[in-house]
């Protein structure tokens, strides 16, 4: 909603300064999206003098004007406004390229072959409430080319307000003014609505057949209106609020809606046959709406969802609360008006609007909740008065008011102690009474009874009144104070600690943490995913590229490498910790994963021993990450998985369970993205590691006897995995073998091509004595024998 402050100030007395008004507005609790102070924002609009005007070819109401906008600078501007203009007048001109405070951008416009270089602006178009005829006219030639903010005093602002769903009572200026009056200690001034002076008997009976959807329906006839243009004061206010003036009667309904927040509808009385019936659309009934669209209640469709109609004795005339029908609306020939002011149940309006895809300023208000009492009555009376003063109304009929079960004011008890114990500050009884009274509540002296106006549809609990008190006192009154309650120890989960440990391990080895996008395209193969079960897709994605929840972290890591490679950063060391998604059974499953990507040079700075990363650099990073979790030692089993090059992938197995995969990313995939160096990726699931890791370590006695060191070098078949050799060594050596490490692997020159040379370094130790050389030598003999027997390994040296 766009609020012109000058209009808002009509409802407050004494008049308050614009600056105070703007300061107080946020205290109401409305979302102030922007406050355009016009004195500042209208600066680009300048005074131009009309030097010549001629009718635009083929039109009777448009003129081509030569407008001098600066000394000697004459522009051609087409004037299509309803306001008369004369040669010699100085008028506000917005040249093409100007942005107006209401959000409109002025551009060049073509009218046939005539190009208009700007716009002559009415007050309403500038966001101003008109003081005169609706167009500022300057006679003083000295003002030529000057900004209109210099030419005249402008003390208004346009405030773009978003009214939160809880406060539909603020969808009218009176609602906002009432709040401001309370905040600023001003008096609310309701608009004058003198009762009609001439009455006729003309009236239309009302029948509410759907009382659960329509709580109250009033209508009244005003006879003898003359349809025409609205007065400048009204038209400019509507324009400032972003509404287009249509005709005086329709403008009155809109104006009063913006004033009271109560939507109104005007029927052409001669279209209303016999009576008004508020009922649901019957099967087969159709209605052509004011915006040209048609709606239909199809035969066979459940009556439960049928929208509510305002019908006459024969057919629907309007889609209740949402939009009027085309044929029953106000036209140039209308002379008698039937004015509707009603209250509809919010949910019904909302459901119908949603189902039919129709919405309007009226439905926006009704679906949030309007006031069936004071606001409805105030708006009704005000509109009738305006139909007399602004639309030439001659006579009024008696009011028909169907209100089968009037809404009552809600009552709550709100002792001051409750307010204090909720806000945590001392609030007195007087403060509570004064605050709530300002907002229209009636309070008993002991606050055992606070009754609330029906316009406050949000007050369904006393806590809302506590908020009201806080707002009137000002939130700044709520000072910080530490809780008297016994504190609890804070903490976090083992999973969270595991994520932090893994992150520290990887950043410590020079990896950058990235943040991926968890949504990916549905199209394309499911690369790198280790998950079982169906993919999870969005029913209403933003676009096809963001429509499936990702099943692996690796694709985005590859994407990150591609992005950075295009910026010449080619030493890839990235990781991400996030969830991957699938649906293995009925319920979706979210698993925490760690994705790692490595490629390029081992070191970033290296002028001597430069080398490229390989599989074992990534495997080392994975092992370090596992070690940081105190996970049991992992084993690695060859595997294949889409996305990894054949023969390069391995499963990571911990405690007998596969917890991840690592390997080399397929070269074709990278070459397509112009990356020609080997890139390695891994993905591990974190949760199983948390479950399997030691919570806290138990001390093991430190060795007290010296160790004996032995190196062993042997030739083994090339296809014998190292892990098998190591396992055999451990088994053959028994408990005395403390550790065995691979020192060297060599194949090539001087060695049988089917073999490779492997050197290991072993440490032997006993817990209870010093091992003798002879003992150890005997053990090494056993190892050599075992390796020979099992793997035909030949000893090279020991």
């Amino acid at each position: 909603m766009i609020v012109n402050t000058e209009w808002l100030l009509d409802y407050l007395t004494p008049r308050c300064a614009l600056a105070d008004l703007l300061t107080a507005l946020p205290r109401v609790g409305l979302d102030i999206e922007a406050a355009h102070v016009l004195e500042r924002e209208l600066a680009p609009v300048r005074v131009g003098f009309i030097r010549a005007k001629r009718p635009l070819a083929g039109t009777s109401d448009k003129f081509v004007c030569d407008v001098e906008v600066a000394k000697g600078d004459v522009r051609q501007i087409v004037c299509a406004s309803a306001h008369p203009i004369e040669v010699g007048w100085g008028v506000p001109v917005a040249l093409a390229g100007t942005d107006l405070p209401n959000g409109e951008s002025i551009g060049e416009a073509s009218f046939g072959d005539v190009v208009s270089k700007g716009m002559i602006c009415l007050d309403g178009e500038l966001g101003l409430s008109a003081k005169g005829t609706g167009l500022q006219v300057f006679k003083d030639e000295a003002l030529l080319g000057k900004s209109i903010t210099e030419a005249t005093k402008i003390d208004e602002a346009l405030v773009h307000v978003k009214v939160y769903p809880n406060r539909p009572d603020c969808l009218g200026l009176i609602g906002i003014a009432r709040e401001l009056a309370a905040m600023l200690d001003l008096k609310l001034v309701l608009p004058s609505a003198p009762a009609p002076t001439v009455y006729t008997k003309d009236s239309v009976p009302v029948e509410i057949q759907a009382p659960s959807l329509c709580t109250r329906y009033t209508c009244q006839v005003v006879g003898g209106v003359r349809i025409g243009k609205s007065q400048p004061w009204m038209a400019s206010r509507l324009m400032a609020a972003g509404l287009r003036p249509i005709n005086n009667v329709v403008d009155i309904t809109n104006f009063v809606m913006l004033e009271w927040g109560q939507p109104l509808h005007a029927f052409d009385l001669k279209r209303v046959r016999e009576k008004i019936v508020v009922r649901k659309f019957a099967a087969g009934e159709t209605l052509r709406l004011l915006d040209g669209r048609s709606i239909e209640q199809k035969t066979g469709e459940s009556d439960e969802y049928a929208p509510l109609a305002i019908a006459d004795a024969h057919a629907p005339m309007a889609l209740a609360g949402i939009m009027g029908g085309e044929s029953s609306g106000i036209s140039e020939t209308t002379s008698d008006v039937l004015l509707e002011a009603a209250h509809f149940e919010p949910t019904g309006i909302r459901l119908s609007g949603r189902r039919l895809g129709v919405s309007s300023d009226s439905s926006y208000r009704f679906e949030r909740g309007t006031d069936p009492n004071e606001s409805l009555e105030g708006a009704q009376a005000r509109a009738i008065a305006l139909l007399f003063s602004e639309a030439g109304g001659q006579s009024a009929g008696p009011l028909t008011d169907a209100y089968p079960s009037p809404a009552k004011r809600a009552v709550f008890a709100l002792p001051a102690e409750r307010v204090s114990s909720y806000l945590g500050i001392h609030v007195t009884r007087e403060q509570v009474i004064s605050s709530l009274t300002k907002l229209g509540c009636n309070c008993s002296d002991d606050l055992s009874r606070v009754d609330v106006p029906t316009r406050r549809v949000d007050v369904n609990d006393a806590v809302v009144l506590i908020e009201d008190v806080a707002r009137v006192l000002g939130y700044e009154a709520i000072t910080p104070a530490a809780s008297p309650e016994t504190p609890t120890a804070g903490g976090t989960t083992a999973l969270d600690q595991a994520r932090q440990a893994v992150r520290a391990s990887l950043t410590g080895s020079g990896f950058l943490e990235i943040r991926g996008v968890p949504l990916e395209p549905v199209e394309g193969a499911e690369m790198f995913s280790q998950l079982a079960g169906a993919s999870i897709t969005l029913a209403n994605p933003l676009n096809a590229d963001l429509s499936r929840l990702r099943r692996s972290l690796v694709p985005f890591l590859v994407k990150t490498a591609v992005y950075n490679a295009s910026r010449r950063a080619v030493n890839f060391r990235y990781f991400e910790i996030d969830k991957v998604f699938s649906r293995p059974a009925k319920d979706p499953e979210e698993r925490w994963a760690l994705g790692i990507l490595l490629g390029g040079a081992l070191n970033d700075a290296d002028w001597s021993t430069r080398r490229e990363c390989d599989f074992f650099d990534l495997k080392g990073a994975v092992e370090s990450a596992l070690e940081s979790l105190r996970a049991p030692k992992a084993t690695f089993v060859p595997t294949s998985l889409d996305g990894y090059a054949e023969g390069t992938a391995a499963q990571i197995v911990v405690n007998g369970a596969v917890i991840g995969v690592l390997g080399q990313v397929k070269a074709e995939m990278l070459a397509a993205e112009r990356i020609y160096q080997p890139v390695f990726a891994a993905e591990l699931f974190i949760e199983p590691l948390v479950a399997g890791s030691r919570v806290s370590a138990t001390f093991v006695a430190l060795p007290r006897f010296p160790a004996v060191f032995r190196d062993l070098s042997f030739l083994a078949n090339r296809d014998t995995p190292y892990a098998a050799l190591e396992t055999a060594i451990r088994e053959a050596a028994g408990a005395q073998l403390e550790s065995v490490d691979c020192m060297d692997v060599f194949a090539g020159k001087g060695i049988d091509p089917a073999k490779r040379s492997i050197a290991v370094s072993m440490v032997f130790r006993a817990a209870d004595r010093t091992l003798s050389s002879e003992e150890v030598n005997a053990t090494v003999d056993q190892i050599i024998e075992r390796l020979g027997k099992e793997f035909s390994a030949e000893l090279r040296s020991r």
Binding site: G29, L423, A481, G490, Q500, L542, Y563, A569, N603, A605
Partner: protein, 347 residues
């Protein structure tokens, strides 16, 4: 005649004072050279009575050994850098290394907040990204057809074939981490106090621009006790702001609306850049909007199995992306998800 001990003392002083190998060599020649002072002592050996010769000889030899050791020791200190020019170490060449790894700036922001809040007694836990309509909306006092549902443009999950779910069981991507409130309260089974927090991704159908991304991260917090007040909320937020933005950070509360809190407050922090003198970051207002907060609605407590007549609580939610952008003055949210190395290395 000089005593041997005096001579040794003087020689040791000179050895310790020698700063270069050349100077050290001079000291060696002076005392231990052919004509050195100690060597010449031995020459006087013949003039001594026979019974003193042995003892004197021993003391000279001991002194000689002492000085030689001192010379060697000193040589190892002053000798460095004295290698021939061909083997000189160029200490200015770059070190062989990897650039340091870094956590993502959003991680740092979230972990900083978590740490502060853990210190204030809050317990951290993770919750699902895929939520039910019930926990995301209904349990937060936002029933179907509530206009507040318009405030969140929600991504729904494609229903699985043949699976009929109740409306409240419909799956969606959580639009806020606030959805965890109902789950926490249900798990606590009516027990208070509760001091809980979570963080994670949230999803809204926003078009991508400099300040919007359909995926963002929130950190949500709530506490329920028998006597918690809005003033406790303000205290908690003040402590958090001090930890995040420094001790001078001030807070401002503004009335606002969330379906799950009343009173609701939008919270602004005093501009950390301009110290409230006015700058472009704060749109010259001196204040920056950082989070939404309030006292938990009775309906929310009730649906969580608590008794609004006995229990009171507060809640707040913070945009981790936004705080990260503020802390580092990042002007475009897309940087956070592009992962350009030049960006990641700045934090």
């Amino acid at each position: 005649m000089q005593s041997i001990s005096e001579l040794v003392e003087r020689a040791l002083a000179q050895i310790n004072a020698a700063a270069t190998p050349a100077a050290l060599d001079q000291v060696r020649v002076q005392y231990l050279g052919k004509a050195g002072e100690l060597t010449s002592q031995l020459k006087s050996l013949g003039s001594l009575p026979a019974e003193e010769r042995k003892a004197f000889g021993q003391s000279v030899n001991a002194a000689k050994a002492q000085l030689e050791e001192a010379l060697n020791e000193r040589k190892s200190v002053v000798g460095q850098g004295a290698k021939p020019a061909s083997a000189m170490l160029d200490v200015t060449l770059p070190g062989r290394r990897r650039l340091a790894g870094r956590p993502h700036p959003m991680t740092v922001t979230a972990e900083t907040m978590k740490r502060i809040l853990m210190g204030l007694g809050f317990t951290y836990e993770d919750f699902p990204d895929i939520e039910t309509e019930y926990f995301n909306f209904d349990a937060l006092n936002t029933p179907p057809w509530h206009p507040a549902r318009d405030m969140h443009d929600t991504f729904y999950i494609t229903p699985t074939d043949g699976e009929h779910r109740l409306q409240t069981e419909a799956e969606l991507m959580r639009t806020h981490t606030t959805a965890f409130q109902g789950r926490v309260m249900r798990a606590r089974n009516g027990q208070v106090p509760i001091r809980a927090m979570t963080t994670g991704r949230c999803y809204r159908k926003d078009d991508i621009d400099a300040s919007h991304f359909p995926i963002f991260q929130q950190l949500d917090v709530f506490a329920v006790g028998t006597n918690l007040t809005m003033s406790d909320l303000r205290w908690t937020l003040t402590e958090l702001a001090k930890g995040l933005f420094g001790g001078e950070a001030k807070l401002r509360f503004r009335p606002s609306y969330f379906p799950f809190t009343t009173p609701s407050a939008e919270v602004d922090v005093s501009c950390i850049i301009c110290k409230q003198k006015g700058c472009s970051l704060c749109s010259r207002t001196g204040w920056i909007e950082v989070l939404g907060s309030g006292m938990m609605r009775p309906e929310v407590l009730k649906m969580g199995g608590l008794d609004p007549a006995k229990h009171q609580g507060f809640a707040f939610g913070i945009g981790v992306d936004r705080i990260t952008m503020l802390r580092h003055q990042i002007n475009d949210i897309r940087h956070l998800y592009q992962n350009e190395e030049a960006f990641l290395r700045q934090f």
